[in-house]
């Protein structure tokens, strides 16, 4: 079974530029998460999708971050414009739906450096 795929793996941009990250979850996984992991910290949930609908985006800085999951499969996370404090690893995770399916499976992450 293929794992969660993310691209790009690394990205360097200047502040005020825009950037987009892509995630392809495990086939059949209805739930998809985006996390921000700042160096030395645990991941922080940004947004959770159930199929193509947003379940929770309470910690997403909506003035600059946006995310979508068209057709309930792939997802993109965008930052526009980027700030220095957005430098982090952005992790995508997916899981199946239902009791007993709580384990999240993570992708390798996209490391973003904002200069």
């Amino acid at each position: 079974e293929a794992g969660v795929a993310q691209s790009p793996r690394y990205k360097i941009i200047e502040k005020r530029q825009s950037v987009a990250f892509w995630c392809n979850p495990i086939s059949g996984h209805a739930t998809l998460y985006w996390y921000q992991q700042i160096l030395g910290q645990g991941p922080k949930l940004l947004i959770q999708f159930q199929n193509n609908g947003v379940v929770d985006d309470s910690q997403l800085p909506k003035d600059r971050f946006s995310a979508e999951r068209l057709k309930g499969v792939d997802s993109t996370l965008k930052i526009q414009p980027a700030k220095l404090e957005d430098s982090a690893v952005y992790l995508c995770a997916s899981r199946n739906w239902g009791r007993g399916q709580e384990t999240q499976y993570f992708g390798p992450g996209t490391r973003l450096l904002v200069l």
Partner: protein, 116 residues
């Protein structure tokens, strides 16, 4: 809101010995899940072990076991016969049973180094 605390930022253990990582959490929920995830230097997060709060029996997975104390809201991870490949960041995580909303929380992590 739930919180997860890991009081040991860094730990080290000699190869083949046993180490215990601590985790405490705060919640008003009665039914929930707890996880330990491992993040090696390559940064791919991997599930180590999970525990359902309504199960009294502590979970075990080969060399990994937990000590789940629900009343104390404590969830420690014991690694037996430590191996060099166990070197990683270890994150304790909490998930409420609702499946929705802001109910999945990671702790700050413990960096474990296994020494040869």
């Amino acid at each position: 809101a739930q919180t997860v605390t890991q009081s040991q930022p860094e730990m080290s253990v000699q190869e083949a010995e046993t180490v215990t990582l601590s985790c405490t959490y705060d919640t008003s929920e009665n039914n929930y899940y707890l996880f330990w995830y491992k993040q090696p230097p390559s940064r791919q997060m991997i599930l180590v072990i999970r525990q359902e709060a309504y199960k009294q029996q502590n979970a075990t997975e080969n060399r990994f076991s937990v000590n789940f104390q629900k009343a104390a809201k404590s969830f420690s991870l014991k690694i037996s016969d430590s191996q060099l490949g166990d070197t990683a960041m270890y994150f304790c995580a909490f998930q409420g049973r609702g499946n929705y909303g802001q109910n999945f929380v990671f702790g700050p992590g413990t960096r474990l180094s296994v020494l040869p």
